[in-house]
Amino acid sequence: MRKKSSMTGRKVTLTISGWIIGLIFLLPYIEMLITSVKSKSEILSIPTTFLPTQWTWSNYVTIWKQLPLAQYLQTSIVVSLSATVLVLLLAIPAAYYVGRNTFKGRNAFLLLVLVTQMFSPTSLIIGIFREVIKFHLVNTWTALILIYAAFNMAFSIWILSSFFASIPIEIEEAAWIDGASRFQALRRVILPIALPGLVTAFIFTFISAWNEFVIALTIESSPAHQPITVGLESLIGMYQVQWQYLFAGSLIAIVPVVILFALIEKWLVSGLTAGSVK
């Protein structure tokens, strides 16, 4: 039972600090939005204006002509989605087996997962670069999909296996008795229960692939294969940065993933709990 909320002094302080924290974390994105609707001349005027004198929303139209934005977005979507689907297809069975069984080599497997978690694509960039050249995968989507899938596998296996392990075995056994194979039981009984974990793994992988920069910058030199993170960099020229377009494009890339992430906010805490309690 919660008492009727009287706005005591403590509560007011709490509310105000909460709102200030929220505002601080939005500031760079608010500045992005403001700059993205300023005109070119206003951006380079001193003193800097806090709000645009003229709200130039046409910047958002111009950037589609300035850059092959649709192409960049297509690459980002195809690569991120494929990598995410690949991760789930491979991580689900592995996580399920690890979460359910003790077997010879289980510890070795978990160690392997832990070690991959310690590598970042950036730290292996030279090895990756040389491998990609060797297998003629420069300027392909395949390379990005495989790399992003590989580097996100560990986290997904880790979070999913603790989810699977937390589901009582009796539920599954009931399905086996009904004649379901192990795989059928996994698909029809376990996966629906583990949905929060699946969604968390999906969105984490998707966002990490969507935002990756260094690998794509290094191995994709043709615009046709560049994701939006790299594509927008071309606006940072040698002499002048077109800030208004850069930020308009950035917001176009940021807003969809923020919405995706906000959708799982309520599962985020339980997803991370499952991981950290383990």
Binding site: L14, T15, G18, W19, I21, G22, L23, F25, L26, P28, Y29, E31, T35, I46, P47, T48, F50, A91, P93, Y97, V98, N101, F109, L112, T116, M118, F119, S120, T122, S123, L124, I126, G127, I128, R130, E131, I147, A150, F151, M153, A154, I157, W210, N211, F213, V214, T229, A253, I254, L260, F261, A262, E265, L268, V269, S270, G271, L272, T273, S276
Partner: protein, 294 residues
């Protein structure tokens, strides 16, 4: 019946081998390739001219930038991780409490986590711009400064700002990990301690903080890895410059590869980097006595 038994005899392999295959192909093979490259003599076109033993490592150790960069990397990693945790603890405490608009504030906190670090860093670069940046304008309007400041003008100031931005992008994830830890502490424990008459701070130190340990450890290890390997913030805001004055080992390795085209030396740097992160993690787990908790 027999077919099911056959499936069982295969054991774990059908379930885990596809995942292992991708990890071997795209993580372990590049790691092997990188270490091997660090012992090869590679010319500027990327062709190998055979083994050279430790010659790449010798070149690297003679690189005058190496020692300052190594020192800076240690300062960078430790200060970002420590500041992140110190800020995330109270932030999580606030977001765990009930107040009007809490849901919206939690959404706001998600934005830097979901947004690309490259783009967030670019926005900070613009905010800190010495001529047109809004931070200069704010400080001028408030009368705090008399003339514009070049925030990213000298190495020390730049480095401080890089740390600020790194903390900014690390706090949201860390806060959520701590929030997850807080939810595992039952309401009854919290209420019981209130009844006992402990003050807020005593309660936090004696009861809440120790229970947060597992969540905190995981949050810190993940941050340690991410911050050490962090590339985009430094690359976007200072490219490690002026000169090499704000480089960490990660950006230095990249510079040696793609600017100096010395792939062998760069591979040596990257191999040492992996050794360092391994050392960091082992030391950290030792210090926090991870095993005692198990």
């Amino acid at each position: 019946m027999t077919s099911i038994h056959k499936k069982y005899r295969l054991g774990a392999l059908p379930w885990i081998s596809p995942a292992i295959a991708v990890i071997f192909l795209m993580v372990l093979y590049p790691a092997y390739e990188m270490i091997r490259t660090s012992f090869l003599n590679i010319d500027e076109t990327g062709t190998s001219r055979g083994f050279t033993g430790f010659s790449n490592y010798r070149t690297l150790f003679n690189n005058p930038n190496l020692v300052p960069v190594l020192e800076r990397t240690v300062v960078w990693t430790i200060s970002v991780v420590v500041l992140t945790v110190l800020i995330s603890l109270p932030v999580a405490q606030i977001l765990h409490a009930q107040f009007p608009g809490r849901r919206l504030v939690r959404y706001a906190l998600i934005v830097p986590w979901a947004a690309s670090v490259v783009m967030t860093s670019t926005s900070w670069l613009w905010i800190l711009n010495g001529y047109y940046g809004v931070l200069n304008r704010i400080l001028l309007s408030l009368g705090i400064i008399k003339e514009q400041i070049q925030f990213l003008g000298d190495p020390t100031q730049s480095f401080v700002w890089l740390i600020v931005v790194a903390v900014f992008v690390s706090v949201p994830f860390t806060t959520y990990v701590i929030l997850a830890g807080l939810t595992t502490i039952g309401e009854d424990i919290l209420e019981a301690s209130t009844v006992d008459g402990a003050s807020g701070w005593q309660r936090y130190k004696a009861i809440i903080f120790p229970l947060l340990r597992p969540a905190l450890l995981i949050g810190m290890v993940i941050n340690l890895i991410n911050v050490f390997n962090s590339f985009p913030i430094i690359w976007v805001m200072t490219t490690g410059g002026p000169g090499y004055s704000t480089d960490t080992t990660t950006t230095l390795a990249y510079k040696i590869t793609f600017r100096s085209a010395d792939i062998g030396q760069s591979a040596a740097m990257a191999t040492i980097n992996f050794g360092i992160i391994l050392l960091f993690i082992v030391l950290f787990l030792r210090v926090s006595r991870w095993k005692d908790q198990e």
